[in-house]
């Protein structure tokens, strides 16, 4: 092989390498969106179910409606404003023009998070409540510079003499603009519109900061769904978004300049024909794109208004934490319109409730966070007269709830679970170890490189505090330091500190033992069927964390009675059963439990005997000081 060929080969290889690097992640997602299995590692066959599910989900469709409507209006308004601005800027003198263009470019270079936060602050400062209109205003704001940037070059190309020529031939300024200037800069204006549409469609950060209650765009929706593991319908949705954005970009860049034939030589017939074809194709594409945009907007508008009602309930819940048909049924039965909003972590939810910019009626935080909210006087007492179904909740859980809600006045348990050790029976045997039964088994050197720990501070310290015989709510610095030393000692044996991947890695047989939430078990065992190993869950004998997520009503709720109706509805055994089947986290509802198959009732991972929970504790809010001590010590563990 000669040198030139080799060089060529290396070049090609490099190009392919770069392309794979760029597109492999997206391709992976696309492939997974057609995967029958929910696992990220197993291929279970081809299916379109996730796409069907996506189109049937009212949450996703609502988010789609918001996204499209906002993108459309924002693009339209910013195109008009941007075009007018560009014309103004173009006619300025050189210095003011340079300065103005600089000012125009800053928002584009500015970090989005700064833009997002400052917009949010501005809205709050002027007393504008966050919601649809604030997202729209923000999107218009950040789209304008892009429109200006795409119209400007076209304007520069357009000789100012064409405008003067039109005036010269008798047209007034307005006529001259619409008859001559606008058609001339139209390609720039159209691509500005599509660019703005794409940018708005795509935006997450700014939307995240400026959105209010019950408003989600696709990007914020996907973000809030991340917490409990992304459902494959989200892959389907992401695939659709990617393809849409790709299509828009292609159209935007599709040969907008057709007129650059040299002036001296008349073009040949072939060139002209080619140009005409390109021009026609471009026009057809633009028309098709605009048509699709309008169709999508009107379709979702129809859906939206077909469902609109006035009696409202604002719900703030974890992503993937309810069977959506339950919401629909509640709306049908009560005539209350549910505005459903999602959060990803307790820490994200808390400041939203504390700020009170959005008045939620029903929220579903975790134990320690409920305690913090009670201490900070953010919750309203629930009127249990309105919740007769409270009888259905096993008194044992109400008893446990007293750890964070001492008088059972503020919260109604919704789901619960434990943290335990998941192990691969085959691998454990191969390593010559016995099945784990104590937290200390995670310090067994036989498991070197086979241990997965939770990458979250309280869970990690729990694993060390419990075997030391201390409370998992310990705030004693000495006890915590001992736990830290224990964790550092364990570090050489740990394969990784992870959150979601415990599930996938264990399924793939990559590790022998891992710390995991019991809620994942039902789902995991389903997927592990047919493998040559079993995944077993054990609650260590020293005790563990028993966590409870409960419904509460914030003090500033506007529809407290509706919230109580909602909580009562969720306590109905048939409804609780449906939610259990969807979420697969253990239900505290006795009525629902009684309706379960015998096999599930016996599932000790989901519904352990109370005896085994003797030493289990509920996380409590430890105060800011203890919080930072925990974080500091955890940092020391991670950095060693």
């Amino acid at each position: 092989m000669n040198r030139a060929k080799l060089k060529r080969l290396i070049q090609d290889f490099y190009l392919v390498f770069v392309l794979i690097f760029l597109y492999a992640p997206i391709l992976t997602m696309m492939v997974l969106s057609f995967n029958t299995s929910k696992s990220r590692t197993d291929w279970g066959g081809f299916t379109l179910d996730w796409y069907v599910q996506m189109f049937q989900s009212s949450t996703i469709m609502d988010a789609l409606y918001n996204t499209l409507l906002i993108a459309f209006i924002a693009a339209l308004v910013s195109t008009v404003l941007g075009t007018v601005a560009a014309i103004g800027i173009n006619s300025m003198g050189r210095l003011p023009k340079t300065i103005t263009m600089g000012v125009n470019n800053i928002p584009m270079l500015n970090s989005e998070i700064v833009t997002g936060i400052s917009l949010m602050l501005a809205f709050l400062a002027f007393g504008i409540s966050l919601g649809f209109k604030t997202i729209l205003l923000s999107h218009i704001t950040f789209c304008i510079p892009y429109v200006i940037l795409s119209v400007m070059p076209r304007l520069k190309q357009t000789s100012r003499y064409t405008y003067e020529a039109a005036m010269d031939l008798g047209a007034g300024p307005v006529q001259a603009f619409f008859l001559v200037v606008l058609p001339d800069i139209m390609p720039g204006v159209l691509s500005g519109f599509l660019l703005a549409f794409t940018m708005s469609l795509d935006d997450f950060i700014i939307t995240h900061f400026t959105r209010g209650a019950g408003i989600n765009t696709l990007s914020t929706l996907i973000y809030s769904e991340v917490r409990r593991g992304i459902k494959p319908s989200m892959y389907a949705l992401s695939t659709v978004i990617f393809l849409t954005v790709l299509a828009l970009l292609l159209i935007t860049n599709f040969s907008p300049e057709g007129q650059e034939v040299s002036r001296g030589l008349p073009p040949t017939e072939a060139e002209k024909a080619k140009k005409r074809r390109l021009e026609t194709a471009r026009k057809a594409l633009l028309t098709a794109a605009s048509f699709c945009v309008i169709l999508a907007v009107s379709f979702t508008t129809y859906r939206h208004f077909a469902a609109a009602r006035s009696n409202e309930l604002y719900v703030y819940n974890w992503g993937e934490y309810i069977d959506e048909t339950v919401i629909e049924e509640f709306e049908k039965e009560t005539g209350i319109d549910v505005v459903y909003d999602l959060f990803e972590t307790n820490e994200e939810m808390y400041p939203v409730i504390e700020a009170g910019g959005v008045a939620y009626d029903a929220v579903c935080p975790s134990d320690y966070m409920i305690q913090k909210m009670i201490e900070n006087d953010l919750l309203a007492e629930i009127d249990f007269e309105n919740i007769p179904n409270i009888d259905q909740i096993d008194p044992e859980y109400l008893e446990r709830s007293k750890a964070f809600d001492p008088e059972n006045k503020y919260s109604v348990p919704y789901t619960w679970g434990t943290v335990g050790i998941l192990y691969n029976d085959k691998l454990v045997e191969e390593l010559g170890a016995k099945p784990p039964e104590s937290w200390l088994d995670l310090w067994d050197e036989k498991f070197a490189g086979e241990i997965l720990m939770q990458d979250s501070v309280r869970d990690a310290f729990m694993c060390a505090l419990k075997p030391l015989g201390y409370s998992l709510n310990s705030t004693n610095p000495e006890e915590l330091r001992q736990a830290r030393d224990l964790l550092i000692a364990q570090k050489p044996l740990v394969q990784a500190y992870v959150i979601d991947q415990v599930r996938d890695k264990m399924l793939g047989g990559e590790a022998a033992v891992g710390v995991i939430y019991s809620g994942e078990m039902l789902y995991l065992q389903e997927l592990a069927e047919g493998k040559d190993f079993q995944l077993e869950y054990v609650i260590p004998k020293e005790g563990t964390n028993l966590w409870i997520d409960s419904w509460v009503i914030p003090k500033n709720a506007r529809n407290k009675e509706n919230a109580e109706k909602w909580i009562n509805f969720l306590c109905r055994p048939d409804i609780a059963l449906r939610n259990f089947e969807y979420i697969t986290y253990a239900t505290p509802n006795r009525g629902a439990f009684d309706l379960l198959d015998e096999e599930l009732k016996q599932n000790k991972a989901l519904f352990p005997d109370w005896d085994s929970l003797e030493n289990a504790e509920v996380y409590q809010y430890l105060g800011d000081e203890a919080d930072s001590l925990y974080n500091e010590l955890w940092k020391e563990v991670k950095s060693k």
């Binding site: 020529a165 005036m167 031939l169 008798g170 300024p173 006529q175 001339d184 007129q259 034939v261 030589l265």
Partner: protein, 358 residues
């Protein structure tokens, strides 16, 4: 005698503090071909744009057919412009381009169609109605721009360096085309160019401008043969401009040699500038010449030879002649009295020419 159609009265204009036109007055008669000639930045285009209504003068008035139109917008003026870069509407066909002005004025369709046909015929582009602008050559686009302007039957056609973007051959063809059009239409043309040859070929009247002032105004022959100052002499054609002393009427001394001439009234022993065109210098035997020098350069130009003859004082005379004088040969310089043009020395560089020839 035709009466003045356009009168510019004491026009001044400045951009960002830089004066472009300073107290300029100009009168244009009906049915003439007037050319504004000068180097770039001399204010000729600004003058045209003020007439067209695209610029407002800072001071002074524009009179059109006896009426003050200083603040009238372009669309209300009875004149049309042919722009430097044609400024055709690229998203329209040729016919739509030409029809633009008529459609704005709501003329009936049959009238518009007739006018399009007539205008295309006039510019020798029959049958181009449905072509696109991009499919035309530069010269064709130029003619469409003219057709688009003249269908509106303006009384004055303003042309801003319309041939500037064309190549030499095309430019010459278009010059004849423009003269023919002007004669057929019988309207006033105001033409801006920096090309002196173009101006000399086409104009009835040339207005030479520099640094916002009119330097000289007159027929092409007057401008060429009797430049009133060094700027005009230098800008129009090539010339030898040498310092001299007017000894008395009809006798001027150049580099110590006495040349008889026909100019009078400059006084006695007065320093002047002397203009001698290169083609007016006769190279003769050394002993017959008024001055002698050595030929130092020789270039063949086709029609004639271009030579440089250096006289002992160091001045290099530019000479055009069909007779060849080899480099190194000593020759005599002779000039006929009526080929010598005497000018007053300017007091400052941008001095305004005194008086304007009618």
């Amino acid at each position: 005698m035709a009466h003045p159609l356009i009168d510019l009265v004491h026009i001044s204009k400045a951009y960002d503090g830089a004066t472009v036109l300073d107290d300029l007055s100009l009168s244009v008669k009906e049915n003439t071909f007037v050319t504004l000639l000068g180097p770039s930045g001399c204010g000729k285009t600004t003058t045209l744009r003020i007439i067209g209504g695209f610029e407002r003068p800072d001071a002074g008035t524009v009179i059109f057919d006896g009426q003050d139109i200083t603040s009238l917008p372009p669309n209300k003026r009875q004149l049309n412009t042919v722009f430097q870069k044609y400024a055709l509407f690229t998203h329209m066909t040729i016919a739509e381009n030409i029809a633009f002005g008529l459609k704005i004025k709501n003329k009936p369709k049959s009238y518009i169609d007739d006018k399009i046909k007539y205008a295309l015929k006039l510019v020798n582009l029959d049958g181009f109605e449905n072509r696109s602008v991009a499919s035309l050559s530069g010269g064709q686009q130029q003619r469409i721009a003219i057709a688009r302007a003249i269908v509106n039957e303006p009384r004055v056609l303003l042309l801003d360096e319309p041939l500037g973007a064309l190549d030499l051959k095309l430019r010459q063809d278009m010059q004849y085309e423009l003269i023919r059009l002007k004669n057929e239409l019988g309207i006033t043309f105001i033409y801006v160019t920096h090309d002196q040859e173009e101006a000399l070929t086409m104009s009835d009247t040339i207005v030479v401008m520099n640094q916002g002032y009119i330097q000289q105004m007159g027929s092409p022959e007057q401008i060429y043969n009797e430049p009133e100052n060094a700027f005009v002499a230098d800008f129009i054609g090539e010339s030898n401009i040498v310092p001299g002393v007017m000894l008395r009427d009809e006798l001027v001394e150049i580099f110590g040699a006495k040349f008889p001439c026909v100019d009078k009234g400059f006084g006695v022993n007065r320093p002047v500038d002397v203009v001698i065109r290169p083609e007016d210098i006769d190279l003769v035997e050394p002993e017959k010449g008024t001055l002698t020098g050595v030929c130092t350069h020789l270039i063949f130009k086709g029609v004639h030879y271009e030579m440089e003859v250096t006289t002992p004082d160091g001045f290099e005379w530019l000479v055009h002649s069909t007779d060849l004088c080899p480099v190194g040969k000593t020759v005599g310089i002779h000039v006929d009295p009526f080929d010598i043009q005497i000018m007053n020395k300017p007091e400052s560089e941008d001095e305004e020419a005194v008086g304007v020839n009618e």
